[in-house]
């Protein structure tokens, strides 16, 4: 520690800190424009000059030294700062009266504070017509170069934080401006539309185009909430104009949540769905082949009566409830309670079955707990990142940013992915293995680790069990065999084994490339094996980390909207657990087996399932083999959908109940890192639509099991009293930063990383995994392997992001990635419209020819209803969790005639 004196006060500063950092840490503010704490200092604006021994120095780029006497304000400094500001104002279009940044502009604030005269050096006069630039055609971002003070924050953020460099300084001197390469349209440049340039701009130069004229800072009310897209759990503020009941823009700032001021394009821009005219505003009932508007009373009583009658006539297996990872914890808790009380059935599931159910099953069997073992904040401290079947910069962009930080600090990067993702292209080792060959690869890797004695013997002996059987099983998996089958180099596998096992520390990150296979649960178990073998778990920045796909998929699982467990993953068949819940809920719990969403779809076809209540899910778009799903759902006696939009599934419903979206209700989401965070009501829901928890209560009451809560907090408290991992939480405790489960009592401050000292289940369980090939192998007729997945600009079934002009401008249509060698063979050129065909059906898409995918594979997103990839996917399932094999099916391409 170093002692310095600032404004006559002695303070302690850390070695290596700048004067600016030391001052801020001690609550002293120094004016600045180009400085931003996430960016390397450049000392460009000269506003942060302070006096050190009467000499002016720049606070942002001068390190503290012992004994410095610093003055941050003086007559002389005021005069200097005023001059700096007056020079800036002479080039700045002072148009505060019509500027959206009025009241939210640092230049304006400082000019006021130091009394800068905007006319001193001649005020800015616009001579020409409005200047067209690289943002003129973009729907999301608008850059007004006449308001730009060239502090370079946007350019530096784009390069240093986002790692993109879409923006640059064009030219120099007085004519220098911010531009893309060649002045290309922003959406045609490398820009990822993260909105970071807007968030760091100190003036009104970079702004949301869509927010223009809709309200200035003084008109807007900010409500902090949790992002509704992926499972990272970013904190943001919805800026609402109460006069119009509209979200005008989204903001966030460093220090607010784990995203620390960063967002991706979906978080920053894709909020227009909230006030979309396509929102459902009234309950609808099917009549004469179409829908008619109905009252809540009518829609609720009809739904309740139908479900009840079907259950009474045909038994508990005849009705099913599909809860939603998009909805809150409170709503998921209520949905499974509704199924098990008023519904009298264990037929309750949610979309984790589609994605991460193998994570729960696999990690729970190995460790006793099925969640991300570490926290997002630990990622930057990883020394080795082992990323498999995961594309974080697109699917979990903020986790991607943390990984970029780790890389900047020298972390080694191993990526196992059949595609050359952003991370793969920058990896120390990229194992571009054949889709579906994960266990062949991991088994060989572990075999090599044991052979070379790279494993952590002490950890294996003391903390794990069943090692012998596990090691025995690995014997047939040689590096040679794996390299041949996976189509990768032997040395790469060996190097990956060495680097991972020797990392200090290493962490595994995976996503749906691991789980969405017919061997998904096995894949997860094998990653658990790898971590245990190398002793890379149970410590800071080391463990097994599934990145969850949806905002509240972690929470929906924690609430156990699933057939065989009760909230907190408590076993349904444990008599003590049953007794606890029966006492709390006042009814006996159902005893039927219960099924997964995939069983519901099958059951609808076979006639076993007759009534189906779907909340916030669109199985028509998200389940494999779409034509079959539609056919089966049409056979139901009664289908009720609770939705915010007319989804493809809702179109088949008998009753549609309009729900409120995340911006219109209170509740909690649980992020991937097990952090329970608040969402808060910012706008009124459209029409007569209601929060999902209110609708569930009404349905339950109408079905004969009265449910009444005055607010979501009451539901949370009831849930926490029954769920030991959440027992210590309440709205008061999670208000500011949330809490990470397990949090067993009110004095517990949450758990940053899991399995320290002991695994949840006691000893970590090694499980021998036998490699199983994909269910539908490529053959002569269908020679390629098709995988599906997500892109940066859209989200899942596209229900929300496809309504955003900004996302659509960047990525407007379905495409299929093809290797250039494959394309040559087929005579396909980049941009050709082609047909992708599997045994289930065919769709048309634009060819994207590159070296991104392997020669034996093709890849496409599943966001586009007009070219729905799930027409193609194979409805074969993981035997444990019924998760479909979205990542592997056999396909062929067709070009030319008939398109």
């Amino acid at each position: 520690m170093i002692t310095v004196t600032i404004n006559g006060k002695k303070i302690q500063a850390k070695e290596g800190q700048t004067i600016m950092e030391a001052a801020v840490a001690n609550g002293i503010s120094i004016p600045h424009l180009c400085h931003e704490k996430r960016l390397a200092p450049v000392g460009a604006c000269r506003l942060c000059q302070v006096e050190v021994n009467r000499e002016p120095v720049l606070a942002c780029s001068t390190k503290v030294a012992s004994g410095l006497t610093i003055l941050t304000e003086s007559k002389e400094l005021t005069s200097r700062r005023r001059s700096v500001l007056e020079l800036l104002l002479s080039e700045h279009k002072v148009a505060c009266t019509t500027c959206d940044a009025d009241g939210d502009c640092k230049l304006q604030d400082y000019a006021y504070r130091y009394g800068a005269d905007e006319f001193l050096f001649g005020s800015y006069q616009r001579k020409d017509e409005p200047i067209l630039n690289y943002t003129s055609a973009n729907l999301g971002i608008e850059h007004d170069s006449e308001k730009c003070i060239r502090c370079g924050r946007c350019v530096r953020y784009c390069r240093e934080v986002q790692g993109v460099t879409a923006l640059t300084f064009d030219g120099r001197g007085i004519e220098m401006k911010i531009n893309t390469a060649h002045g290309r349209d922003l959406h045609a440049s490398d820009c990822e539309l993260c909105g970071g340039c807007i968030r760091v701009c100190p003036t009104g130069a970079m702004r949301e185009k869509g927010a223009k004229g809709l309200g200035r800072k003084k008109d807007l009310v900010k409500t902090q909430t949790t992002c509704t897209y992926c499972g990272v759990g970013c904190q943001l503020e919805l800026n609402v104009n109460p006069k119009t009941n509209k979200v005008v823009r989204v903001t966030t700032r460093p220090g607010m949540g784990l995203n620390d001021g960063n967002l991706c394009g979906k978080g920053h821009f894709s909020y227009d769905f909230i006030s979309s005219p396509e929102r459902l505003t009234k309950p609808l009932i099917r009549a004469n082949g179409t829908f008619r508007q109905a009252t809540w009373e009518e829609a609720i009583s009809l739904s309740a009566k139908k479900l009840r009658k079907i259950r009474d006539n045909y038994g508990p297996q005849s009705i099913a409830f599909l809860s939603s990872c998009r909805c809150t914890n409170e709503e998921n808790y209520l949905m499974q309670k509704l199924a098990r009380t008023a519904g009298g059935t264990n037929n309750i599931d949610q979309c984790a079955t589609t994605c991460h159910a193998p994570t729960i099953a696999g990690l729970a069997s190995a460790f006793g707990s099925g969640a991300m073992t570490n926290s997002v904040a630990e990622i930057k401290d990883c020394k080795v990142l082992f990323i498999i079947g995961s594309n974080p910069t697109e699917a979990h962009p903020i986790v991607g940013l943390e990984m970029k930080k780790a890389m900047a600090r020298g972390a080694k990067l191993i990526v196992c992915d059949p595609r050359s993702t952003w991370m793969a292209e920058r990896a120390d080792i990229h194992i571009k293995h054949r889709p579906g060959s994960d266990n062949m690869l991991i088994n060989a890797l572990m075999n090599f680790i044991i052979k070379e004695k790279l494993h952590d013997e002490k950890f294996v002996q003391e903390r794990c069990e069943n090692f012998e059987a596990f090691a025995d099983n690995l014997k047939p998996y040689s590096i040679k065999r794996a390299a041949e089958y996976c189509g990768v180099s032997r040395e790469d596998i060996k190097d990956a084994a060495r680097i991972y096992s020797e990392g200090q520390p290493s962490a595994i990150f995976y996503t749906l490339g691991i789980t969405e296979h017919s061997c998904g649960t096995d894949n997860v178990k094998n990653l658990a094996n790898l971590a245990m073998l190398s002793g890379q778990i149970g410590k800071w920045a080391s463990g097994v980390n599934p990145l969850r796909g949806q905002n509240n998929v972690q929470g929906a699982c924690d609430m156990c909207a699933m057939p065989h467990r009760l909230p907190g993953y408590q076993k349904l068949n444990d008599p003590k657990v049953r007794e606890k819940f029966e006492k709390a809920w006042g009814v006996p719990l159902p005893t039927n087996e219960g099924g997964r969403v995939t069983h519901f779809i099958e059951g609808a076809g076979s006639g076993e399932l007759r009534g189906f209540y779907v909340m916030g899910e669109d199985p028509v778009m998200s389940e494999p083999n779409q034509s079959k799903v539609v056919k089966h759902l049409k056979q139901l006696d009664f289908l009720v959908c609770q939705e915010i939009f007319m989804s493809e599934t809702a179109k088949l419903a008998h009753v549609i109940l309009p729900g409120a979206c995340y911006a219109e209700k209170d509740g909690t989401f649980t992020a991937s890192e097990r952090r329970v965070q608040r969402i808060r009501k910012a706008v009124k829901a459209p029409g007569v639509s209601r929060a999902d928890w209110q609708i569930i209560c009404d349905i339950s009451t109408a079905m004969g099991y009265p449910m009444k809560y005055s607010n979501p907090s009451d539901i949370f408290n009831e849930m926490a009293s029954l769920n030991p991992s959440y027992a210590g939480m309440d709205y008061g405790r999670i208000e500011k930063n949330g809490l990470q489960w397990p949090c067993p009592d009110k004095d517990h401050c949450g758990t940053v990383f899991l399995h320290k000292g002991d695994f949840k289940r006691g000893k970590g369980l090694f499980q021998p995994i036998v490699f199983q090939p994909q269910k539908e192998e490529p053959d002569k007729k269908y020679p390629l392997i098709l995988s599906t997945g997500r892109t940066l600009y859209h989200y899942n079934v596209g229900n929300m992001t496809r309504k955003s002009g900004i996302s659509n401008q960047k990525e407007k249509e379905c495409f299929v990635e093809i290797n250039s060698a494959t394309a040559d063979k087929h005579g396909i050129l980049d941009g050709n419209q082609i047909k992708v065909i599997t045994r289930r059906g065919s769709i048309s898409a634009v060819a994207k020819v590159s070296r991104r995918v392997r020669e034996d594979s093709i890849w496409m997103p599943f966001h586009f209803v007009e070219a729905s990839a799930n027409i193609l996917t194979n409805d074969v399932f993981d035997p444990v969790t019924a998760t479909a094999e979205y990542k592997c099916c056999a396909a062929r391409l067709e070009v030319g005639a008939g398109l």
């Binding site: 640059t168 300084f169 030219g171 390469a181 060649h182 440049s189």
Partner: protein, 166 residues
């Protein structure tokens, strides 16, 4: 112009050659390779910068930023002979502006422009550092000093003649 070139197609194979002389390629090699590129193509066409970005995994915006920062780089087709006319203090007092306007009217181009036959470009520079020759201009690596409007035009005429003869 760029459009026309696009139709004709620029031969990008030279870029692989440049990149192959900088292995492994680092950010420090950018300015050098841009100079070599300009020497070859005469200027820095858009697609050439894109190719350099692609081959070296460098963001194209970074390359564009460098290319626009230094006045030695040209993003538009440039005359075969670049006339760098000194506007420094010494030349200025010795009536460099008169020489500039004489050249402008002779070639029919303004400062910063290129003649239609792509032979000459005119650009004023701050100081060539050869004040003893003032007023002075630099064409290629040849200085022409103690100019008068007439002698300057004569120099240009001679170059044009020689070029035709070649």
């Amino acid at each position: 112009m760029t459009k026309a070139l696009k139709q004709e197609g620029i031969d990008l194979s030279f870029m692989s050659k440049i990149v192959s002389t900088h292995v492994p390629f680092s950010r420090e090699d950018l300015i050098g390779s841009l100079q070599e590129t300009q020497d070859h193509y005469g200027y820095l066409p858009e697609e050439v910068m894109d190719k350099l970005a692609e081959l070296t995994s460098t963001p194209v915006a970074l390359i564009y930023g460098i290319a626009t920062f230094y006045s030695q780089f040209h993003l538009k087709p440039h005359g075969k002979y670049a006339i760098k006319l000194c506007r420094g203090t010494a030349c200025h007092v010795k009536e460099a502006p008169k020489i500039s306007s004489a050249i402008s009217s002779h070639l029919g181009i303004k400062d910063g422009e290129t003649t239609n036959d792509m032979l000459f470009s005119l650009e004023s520079v701050a100081c060539l550092g050869t004040c003893f020759l003032s007023p002075v201009m630099l064409i290629g690596d040849q200085y022409y000093g103690k100019l008068t409007p007439e002698s300057a035009i004569e120099v240009l005429e001679n170059i044009a003649k020689e070029n035709k003869a070649k």
